[in-house]
Symmetry: C2
Subunit: 339 residues, 2 copies
């Protein structure tokens, strides 16, 4: 941090001109003669000048940084998102601060404080499971700091969202299972406080309805998305001796837990499993050949959400105050299970 002492003043002195001219040249201002500009750029390069971004940011009153709030980075979907975010932000010259709520509302509130204190220029967020009110996000809006929700949005108008069509994803998954002959489909759901899980459940119901299959609430098992929840759900399934010929999980982690448990006690996994929001590609075909996943494109979602956020940060003309971008989620049937 103590190297590169060369400032615009050094190169100004060297060229016997004023530092403000150097600044203008370096910012490619049209208000400086081509000739002097070239001279300045050349000398700056020779001296190995590097702009002090901190000083520049302070002066311009920006941080060149966007904050990302996610439940936990070690979940494959979210790390894919981060990959997309990083890439897009990097290309635009922005830094990224990543913060994990670990699904805790308290942490989410603290994080917003930190990001605010760090003067982030914008925020991407996928809310925690415990997040039921959104006061902690209001100060961003008040301060004119744009916020974009992705995946786990909150059901409030006037928000910018980037999502998949969770209803459709759930619907498609069930229709797919039904097409393959399933009639008794268990649903591993997620916290109903989160819109996405509510919508996936609705898709499930709707598909059953369309196919004249009655809905039974005991076929729906909620969970908190942890692997162990999947184990518990599977146990409950066995204990209650519920008959089923297919599983539809709204979440990958819990599904994995369930499959682990079922295989470990020697129970044959039902022939058909579908998982929405699946992201952990490396696992998918190994764990169970008869698996259908409705993949959630984390990488692309990260890119699109960041793009949208940057547009808001740059106050691009003609940008709607708020919008919801629905991305495609693609149903992937494994080779070994195709008919």
């Amino acid at each position: 941090m103590d190297a590169n002492k060369i400032t615009i003043h050094d190169i100004a002195r060297d060229l016997e001109i004023d530092s403000s001219t150097v600044s203008r040249a370096l910012n490619n201002s049209p208000r400086v003669a081509k000739k002097t500009k070239d001279k300045i750029l050349k000398r700056a390069d020779e001296l190995g000048y590097q702009r002090n971004i901190l000083a520049s940011n302070l002066r311009r009153n920006v941080s060149n940084t966007i904050g990302v709030i996610i439940p936990r980075i070690s979940r494959h979907f979210f790390s894919s998102v981060i990959q997309g975010v990083e890439e897009t932000a990097y290309l635009a010259g922005y830094n990224v601060i990543i913060c994990q709520t670990l699904e805790q509302f308290e942490r989410e509130k603290n994080i917003t404080e930190t990001l605010f204190a760090n003067r982030v220029d914008g925020v991407l967020i996928s809310i925690s499971m415990e997040t039921l009110d959104y006061k902690h996000l209001e100060k961003f809006k008040k301060a004119g700091i744009p916020v974009v929700f992705f995946d786990r949005h909150c059901n409030i108008p006037e928000n910018n969202n980037v999502l998949i069509d969770d209803f459709k994803a759930g619907f498609d998954a069930i229709q797919h299972l039904i097409d393959k002959g399933c009639k008794k489909i268990v649903h591993f759901s997620g916290p109903q406080e989160l819109e996405i899980y509510k919508n996936r459940l609705e898709g499930y119901k709707k598909a059953l309805h369309n196919n004249n299959i009655p809905f039974h609430s005991q076929y729906v098992l909620n969970s908190k998305l942890m692997e162990n929840d999947g184990v518990e759900n599977a146990k409950k399934l066995i204990d209650t001796q519920l008959e089923f010929d297919g599983i539809f999980s709204a979440n990958d982690t819990a599904a994995i837990g369930a499959m682990k448990y079922l295989t470990s006690i020697g129970i044959k996994i039902p022939q058909e499993i579908a998982i929405v929001g699946f992201s952990n590609e490396p696992i998918s075909t190994v764990i169970n050949p008869s698996l259908t996943t409705i993949n959630q494109p984390g990488f692309e979602m990260g890119k699109i959400a960041t793009d949208l956020l940057l547009k808001h940060i740059k106050k691009e003309k003609g940008l709607p105050q708020s919008q919801t971008i629905i991305m495609d989620s693609n149903l992937i049937e494994r080779e070994s299970t195709k008919k």
Copy 2:
């Protein structure tokens, strides 16, 4: 970014004192009377003052930011590391810039430029597969910016490293397989330019030697760690009709690829598999019950590496110029495979 206009001057004017006193109070300096300090803190709180970190950083010539360079964040091991890094850095009041090389040397060089331009106070790095020379890291040392290597270090003296004992991990894995009756153990290795894979291979050789099992080079298959490399390796294994009764993989991703392929063509996976550097816990027990993993503690490694880096940044007294911290890697045998 335009809210919170309240500065130390505002609260100084309000209290009819000097802003420098306010600054001292806010920094909890001992050189300000308890009484005035309390008064200042109270007023600051009332006015909703928030320090402008950018200005503070500029003045103190720090960035309060550490840079992390990793191959790719979507690999479970690295995202676990990030989790540890974030947590430790966050508690110490530091921000983190995460950059991915995607295993490309060119990108790694660019990234160091970016981090340097961003005036990071320190760097954590796990080098890319293509990284053979380290000139791009020299400028950090020259500028007095500490660098800590983790996992994928480079074989240069005077570095700070946080590692597992890769030789021992490889050795233990093989000894374990031998104890279980394996005699013909295939080794999926990684790029031999990276120390860690060289050392794991050495551990493999040494364990064979200790057990009077001859080493045959055709049992060693290198790869570039991608899932598809694992598939190719498995194909080669089948094509050459090599007899084997165990697999030792130095890498999880490639191992998964291999297992995918072997199962997909209906080949029974050999009874014993051991994987060093395994991190993808969610997968482990599902994919193959007869699996032993030598886990690499990403989260802890991230914490320890960050701790060490922060000590260097803070120029803690009595800190050795350079050191190598060897962490434990724990061999985990799955329930279903225990004897």
